[in-house]
Symmetry: C2
Subunit: 349 residues, 2 copies
């Protein structure tokens, strides 16, 4: 691999001149510039980013950590982030944490040793004391994404409001016995926020508190969990799932049990991943603008890197996507006479 010195020798100039040509600085005689360019081409020289970084003290690399790339919601965000970073000439180093707190810490540590200039992270719980401790100790720009706003700039949606919106939709349709199926209600801040928003809205509407079902990460077969949930003489008529992947698996489990969606039970997801429209019935969900969130996180962190001050948080709009998986509760479960949801209309606030 040719170095700047090789080029200088070949072109018969000093390394400073080569550096100037490479960095397109003014004040070089055109013919000198041409000679240098020739030498560069002949040796197919590419300036060594490491030498450059060492001098500059920056790497022009962003570090990104998400729980997993196997969930399209994160993959899409990384895709958007990557595009935005590339436009600005930044590379992106990616790691996954598998929703594990220890892995999170270690992974971020590795990214920092790798000298990324800034970080974009999704942590399990931005409010957790231990997490906050190491997060606050990071001496570089950090932007959280998907997490609940806390001590670091954050790009997210209003999870509590989104949870409430889901609850209101269920209530509007006549549901009152509801359950929440979540990946890790206790561990994940956003999951908790959605839960709280959901449960509070239900309470405000005079509904009994929802049942909680927790699904361990990596457990893909929800058959037993859903069977248990739906057993008994007053099973829930609506399920609010903490993400679309879980919602889709829940629907599959319900079908196994011979229960109709939304005939016997309505299912609602969260995230708005691309494939959820392709189900039949299509999945009703609270959609987050994942790609845009990734882009926004990149923009934010890049701005901070450029010396700007990042806004403490960016709340992007969520959107209630009404698919086919949510409908009125089965007749037997309705309390009092109700007309069809469309006839009832939306309450005027």
């Amino acid at each position: 691999m040719a170095t700047i010195r090789d080029v200088a020798r070949r072109a018969g100039v000093s390394i400073a001149t080569v550096s100037r040509v490479v960095n397109e600085q003014p004040g070089i005689r055109p013919e000198t510039r041409a000679r240098v360019h020739d030498a560069i081409d002949e040796l197919s020289f590419r300036p060594n980013a490491i030498g450059r970084s060492l001098k500059a003290g920056t790497s022009r690399v962003l570090g990104v950590m998400v729980p997993t790339l196997a969930n399209p919601v994160f993959a899409e965000a990384v895709e958007g982030l990557q595009h935005e970073a590339r436009k600005a000439g930044y590379g992106v180093m990616v790691t996954t944490s598998d929703y594990d707190a220890d892995t999170e810490r270690a992974a971020v540590e590795t990214l920092m040793i790798g000298r990324v200039d800034a970080l974009v992270l999704t942590v399990r719980d931005a409010a957790d004391a231990a997490t906050r401790a190491w997060l606050d100790a990071i001496d570089r720009p950090v932007v959280l994404i998907y997490n609940e706003p806390g001590s670091r700039p954050t790009v997210t949606v209003d999870n509590a409001a989104a949870g409430a919106a889901a609850a209101e939709m269920f209530v509007r349709l006549g549901h009152s016995r509801l359950a929440v199926v979540a990946g890790s209600l206790t561990g994940s801040d956003r999951s908790r926020a959605r839960w709280l928003g959901f449960a509070n809205a239900l309470q405000a509407q005079g509904c009994p508190p929802p049942v909680k079902v927790e699904i361990p990460f990596h457990q893909t077969d929800l058959g037993q969990a859903i069977a248990d949930l739906m057993a008994g003489d007053a099973p829930p008529t609506g399920l609010f799932c903490s993400n679309d992947l879980i919602a889709m698996r829940t629907m599959a489990a319900l079908r196994e049990l011979g229960l109709g969606v939304p005939g016997d039970v309505s299912v609602m997801g969260f995230d708005g991943i691309a494939t959820c429209r392709l189900l039949h019935p299509s999945l009703s969900t609270v959609s987050q603008p994942s790609r845009t969130m990734g882009e926004a996180a990149a923009t934010l962190v890049l701005k901070e890197l450029a010396g700007g001050v990042a806004e403490p948080f960016t709340i992007l709009p969520h959107r209630l996507v009404e698919g086919g998986s949510v409908g009125p509760p089965p007749r037997a479960a309705q309390r009092g006479p109700t007309t069809s949801p469309t006839e009832r209309g939306v309450p005027s606030t």
Copy 2:
């Protein structure tokens, strides 16, 4: 940020000693080591990877390029690759090419300038002359993934055999009028290989050649394309899609048209992404071990980096997943009397 010099001063030793302690080299008096460790902790010193890289001439970073992270098949591979890389102490820089040949070149160039030690790539077409030219010019270990084996070590499945297996399944069930719905039949080497395997197998069985339908990347609504395909008096009874995402969209389009799957038409995908099991009917597909492929690519490239010689190619096994989206053709379309597929059984070779 503390440097090795700060630590040395604080511990009252030379920077060489600090370096030795950090790199756990033998021959340091225990008390000296302890003093250095204390200084390191007090200053929370982390060795600067850039300085280290400059000296060593390697970055301990792998560069990865895939067409898009929005297709879970690639996201999963990157996930696997990343895990494997981290185990070996390597970081992973990711880029996407959007299936565009120019972007591919530019993205790889950017990765190389970023001084990745080696590359793992999925290119549109590993057989394309222009692509081969720049690929062969890369002066670092390169492993291709998903591509057809060519001039560089490759981790993939036997796409032609997989296409043939799909064809044989269709024929076994009694289909003869088939179509291929592909993302970019002309541009993608693997898509082409699957097509050839599929078409050749059909010919061998005495079936007419399949119809081709090409779907531009980014076109997510296949309604019109599928409507056109299914118009006419002898529409295909089976559709072989070049990937699961397209297959899922195809199924959605068919449903819009009021056509039953597999009653009126059978649909088969390719990739085996997680969500395809969750459809109803579940998608029949040729499954690739994506995560394992990512891991294998990492292992291969890491081995080469360690001085080993990489195998020219690693063909991982594909698997025909029989879901609910494929069945016998509708009665009217069958040629000659046939019994149900299970009764007919599999031909004894």
